[in-house]
């Protein structure tokens, strides 16, 4: 995978969308991502479904690459850091954050993030919020509600888009979905499905793949 980026203006801020499932907010030196779903594969394995743990490890490796590239001061996870409680894969994240002592890891609470409070320091998360406002941007896990003058960035729905290709073929891509006042992040975890139906009406979609990121033409 090679890092490709696309600069957009949202909520009067300049944001860099990447094809590696995270955006960079240069002004705040902040890397923003959502829906990591740590420990998902292991949760499946514990219930008798044999899935390899490699995708989860690859996610962390990708995050490492992004941090080394952008050198952010903060990493903000907009919810669903953890898939289903603590397990060994989740513990890996604690070791991961310890490797970046200069980076400030923050979490917006998502619907999957049900774990005891003392797990947070273990994971290297400095603070957790239900909702966080920085500058003109408001971060919340569920893409719901609206506050005047603020622009919402959220996750949760794992947005995807169907792109019509030549010869009547349709291919689905994960994407960022943008409207005037709302931005929905793709799921950072690769082992997640996408939802093409719950996007806001008339959203602009930035779809991405291994080698690129592009704005999907509107029809």
């Amino acid at each position: 995978m090679s890092l490709k980026q696309e600069t957009v203006f949202f909520g009067r801020q300049q944001l860099i969308l990447t094809n590696e499932r995270a955006l960079f907010w240069e002004k705040q030196q902040m890397l923003v991502l959502s829906d990591l779903h740590l420990g998902k594969a292991e949760h499946f394995r514990r219930n008798g479904i044999a899935l390899p743990s490699q995708p989860g490890k690859d996610d962390l490796q990708r995050l490492e690459g992004l941090i080394l590239h952008f050198k952010p001061r903060h990493v903000l996870v907009v919810g669903d850091l953890v898939h289903a409680g603590a397990n060994n894969e989740v513990a890996l994240f604690g070791r991961f954050t310890a490797g970046f002592p200069g980076v400030d890891f923050l979490l917006i609470k998502g619907n999957h993030d049900r774990f005891p409070g003392d797990l947070l320091p273990e994971l290297g998360i400095r603070a957790v919020y239900d909702e966080l406002v920085i500058d003109t941007l408001r971060f919340i896990h569920h893409p719901e509600g609206h506050r005047p003058g603020l622009y919402t960035i959220s996750g949760h729905i794992h947005p995807g888009v169907a792109v019509r290709m030549p010869a009547k073929r349709v291919i689905h891509f994960p994407c960022y979905a943008l409207t005037e006042d709302q931005l929905i992040l793709p799921a950072f975890a690769k082992f997640t499905g996408t939802d093409t139906r719950s996007l806001p009406r008339r959203a602009r979609c930035y779809a991405f793949y291994e080698a690129g990121i592009f704005e999907v033409p509107q029809h």
Binding site: F44, R45, G48, A50, P52, S53, P55, N87, G193
Partner: protein, 820 residues
């Protein structure tokens, strides 16, 4: 001497009992009783209605009466049926026989609908005869202490084996039988089947290792009369689905003059449409006719079935949902709407009327387009020749095997080496390699290759004594809830907002509807009010509405039927046609002959048609829709290798179309090239998206093997976190475990079932041996027209379609006129 006398005893009692009812046994019954008494296993082949149940069932009773001491307490006979609804009626008939013969055996049913109390009682005290589905048999094997159930078991009978063979449920039977046979060496296994094209193979699958086995074929045959319903005039340009409306007027009197009728359609949407058509044509039918298909709520279906057997209904419009099942005595007429697609299916449906052994089964055939009348001629020929389709047994279905291994591990465990021998003794896994077995065991114990990413995976554990067992209660429960190989689409229940269920509709259909949209289900117009947790709330409405088009309704034409179809068509224009269907079609056939050609048995027709719309290439292999799909992609691929061109494709059971907006330049020599048998499979693989096809196949595999959980226990939210789509898992495995045994199975299924490799090869061999007839035309021919219409159907809403077609027909007629 004494033994001889005793042998007669049970037989005499049964004979007297039958005589008291005015019956005498058929020869095949007598033979079955005799062979069973001599400890044979076997397979009985007999048509429906000739008492094939009693061949095997009474054999067990006779043997018991002859040697009561050889039978212990508890379960003696397991009877497996493919349908729950069959079980109940069979059990009743068996119990009646037992009671009136004067024995004290108890017959009971056990399946998914049996209440827990009964199941618990049965687990403590088994009845003498137990009727099971393949799934409920596996559930018994998953119970701790299962050995108690089977200690007195003498016989397992597999009813309607032809229905199970050829599906993964058949593999379930194979596995369960192999396992039980290995534990209880004396066990007799008997199959009961209707005639199919590969009876010997069917017996090999059922009884792969039995030394004493016998195939008993009834000499009795069911007589079938086929009566086509002719339209008033022949439409020279026929199109599928259109004729129905015109013919409904002719179907009404058929229903009126019968006591009770079943109207068979091929798809659920077609059955909904016919229900409406009949009501419009004859409003008095209201309350006298009913609609029966698999999307209608089970209690309603049950009610309909009961009403039908009590003679309370004049007609039931049904899909294959009524192909099998209990006998409806009052039904004296069967009406088939549209192609039956196969000889076996047609005969089976015909057999639903005229029940007593020597009565004639009468079936009316209502064509949906006039060309289908050729099919009637073909069907008659096929029935005369008894050319019934084969049922190909499935092999190496590792998804079923994995499920089964966990089932056995759950009910007490197994030793891997012993189990390998048992499994390799089955037909399905005869060619399983040691390496494949090793992978299966790895998959259920450690998740995959050791040390590769599967930390904390526990499903089956090896105990110190080498037994493989399931320890965790959570896994046990999840597994029990998901035993079985029938994978359903995500369905939503449809419920009135005022209460009461109507049926089930695929989630993807409902997801396209907005609140207030109207759709048709169970013959009613319903308005969508709301969707809440997998239930669609609706209210009654009226006016125009859409009919859900359900997936999977489109069965392709069978190879046997297509063979006779080609034959009949070839003969159709020869002088002195006798057969009335073909005589009736003469105007259409002559038009085809005049503007193009009617292919003889050793010819292959290709039409290159240029219309205002664009350029069309029509080819007519008559091999059924599925094969045509593959062929179309292949031929398009091969032409585009000659020069750059892109096509859209359409197909029906008779042929397929390649359509392009640029001219299709193709010489006769090039045509021969693109139809070549050489490098066939290689080109097929290049022309299709095999990964995409495998991904679709993987859906079922993922569910059966337990990678995707279909049924969750309880409704706790935490269960949601265990859901992942098969497509996602497929992607992960493709990337990280490309050699995964279930991925390989998905690709194998694509080749064996989707591409039907052997049939495809046979088709190309036939085409290559044929004379290729290459015709050019500037208008649609009778053969090409239905294909063209079908391609429009896919891209247009139904109202638009009607108009477009009319315009096209007018245009085509105008163009043909000057030449006439």
């Amino acid at each position: 001497m004494e033994a001889k006398e005793q042998q007669n005893k049970g037989y005499d009692i049964v004979l007297d009992w039958m005589a008291a009812q005015g019956r005498t046994p058929f020869e095949f019954q007598r033979k079955t009783w005799e062979k069973y008494g001599r400890a044979y296993s076997g397979m009985v082949v007999a048509p429906t209605g000739f008492g094939k149940t009693f061949s095997v069932f009474l054999a067990v009773l006779i043997d018991f009466m002859n040697r009561p001491d050889a039978y212990g307490n508890g379960l003696k006979l397991i009877w497996i049926t493919p349908l729950r609804s069959l079980a109940k009626d069979l059990a009743r008939a068996m119990q009646e026989a037992i009671d009136s013969i004067g024995l004290d055996w108890v017959v009971e049913v056990r399946h998914g609908d049996t209440d827990i109390k009964t199941k618990q009682r049965q687990s403590k005290q088994m009845p003498d005869v137990l009727l099971l589905t393949p799934e409920s048999l596996h559930l018994l094997l998953a119970q701790k202490g299962r050995t108690i159930f089977f200690k007195s078991l003498k016989c397992i009978a597999v009813d309607e084996w032809h229905e199970l063979l050829g599906s993964k449920r058949g593999v379930m039977i194979e596995l369960a039988l192999a396992y039980l046979k290995a534990q209880y060496k004396e066990l007799r296994v008997w199959g009961i089947t209707a005639t199919i094209g590969n009876l010997d193979e069917a017996m090999d699958v059922l009884l792969p290792v039995a030394k004493k086995r016998v195939k008993i074929v009834a000499r009795e045959k069911k007589k079938i009369a086929i009566e086509p319903v002719f339209p008033d005039k022949v439409e020279v340009l026929p199109w599928a689905g259109h004729l129905g409306g015109a013919l409904v007027q002719k179907v009404v009197p058929v229903i009126l003059q019968s006591k009770s009728s079943i109207v068979f359609t091929n798809t659920r949407s077609q059955s909904e449409m016919w229900y409406q058509l009949l009501l419009e044509a004859y409003p008095d039918f209201a309350g006298q006719i009913a609609l029966h298909h698999s999307s209608i709520d089970a209690p309603i279906r049950q009610w309909i079935e009961e009403a039908l057997s009590e003679g309370k209904l004049k007609a039931v419009i049904a899909t294959s949902s009524l192909d099998l099942g209990v006998d409806f005595k009052p039904v004296d007429t069967v009406i088939q709407v549209g192609s039956a697609k196969g000889v076996a299916r047609f005969m089976q449906r015909a057999g639903r009327s005229g029940h007593s052994p020597h009565e004639v089964s009468k079936i009316y055939f209502v064509p949906t387009h006039s060309l289908e009348l050729v099919e009637v001629a073909a069907l008659k020929e096929a029935v005369k020749n008894n050319a019934i389709e084969r049922r190909e047994p499935m092999i190496l279905s590792f998804d079923v095997l994995l499920q089964f291994l966990v089932t056995i591990a759950l009910g007490g465990g197994f030793i891997a080496a012993d189990m390998q021998q048992i499994i390799q003794g089955t037909f399905a896994f005869h060619y399983m390699t040691d390496e494949e077995w090793r992978q299966c065991i790895l998959l259920i114990t450690v998740g995959g290759e050791v040390g590769k990413n599967y930390e904390d995976f526990h499903k089956v554990k090896e105990r110190e004594d080498g037994m493989l067992i399931v320890e965790k209660r959570r896994i046990a429960m999840l597994h029990r809830m998901n035993i079985g190989v029938i994978v359903s689409d995500a369905m939503m229940r449809v419920k009135f907002i005022s209460g009461g269920y109507i049926g089930m509709v695929e989630e993807y259909f409902l997801s396209k509807l907005k609140k207030g949209d109207k759709f048709i289900l169970a013959g009613r117009v319903l308005e969508l009010v709301n969707i809440k947790e997998m239930t669609a709330l609706v209210r009654n409405a009226s006016g125009t509405a859409i009919t859900p088009s359900w997936l999977g309704g489109r069965l392709p034409l069978s190879a046997n039927l297509s063979h006779f179809l080609r034959q009949k068509l070839a003969l159709s224009v020869q002088a002195g046609v006798q057969q009335k269907e073909l005589a009736f079609l003469q105007p259409l056939l002559l038009t085809q002959q005049q503007y193009s050609h009617i292919p003889a048995a050793d010819e292959f027709l290709v039409e290159n048609i240029h219309t205002r719309e664009g350029f069309h290439l029509f080819l007519y292999p008559f091999e059924g829709r599925l094969i045509h799909e593959v062929m179309a992609a292949l031929i398009a691929f091969r032409i585009s290798r000659l020069y750059p061109i892109s096509f859209s494709m359409a197909m029906n059971d008779y042929g397929f179309e390649l359509f392009s907006d640029t001219e299709i330049r193709l010489s006769t020599e090039e045509l021969r090239q693109v139809l070549s048998r050489e490098h066939l499979m290689e080109d097929v693989v290049n022309s299709i998206n095999a990964t995409e096809m495998a991904r679709r196949k993987f859906r079922d595999i993922a569910v059966i093997s337990g990678m995707v959980v279909q049924n969750m226990y309880g409704k706790q939210k935490s269960n949601k976190s265990l859901q992942a789509s098969a497509g996602l898992i497929f992607k992960v495995l493709e990337e990280y475990e490309p050699n995964h045994i279930l991925l390989k199975q998905a690709y194998a299924e694509v080749f064996n079932q989707q591409l039907e490799e052997p049939r495809l090869i046979a088709a190309f061999e036939r085409i290559n041996a044929s004379k290729i007839i290459y015709k050019f035309s500037s208008k649609f021919t009778p053969l090409s027209f239905p294909i063209k219409v079908d391609s429009l159907r896919q891209s247009l809403s139904s109202e638009d379609l009607e108009k477009r077609i009319q315009r096209m027909q007018q245009q085509s007629r105008k163009e043909t006129k000057p030449k006439k």
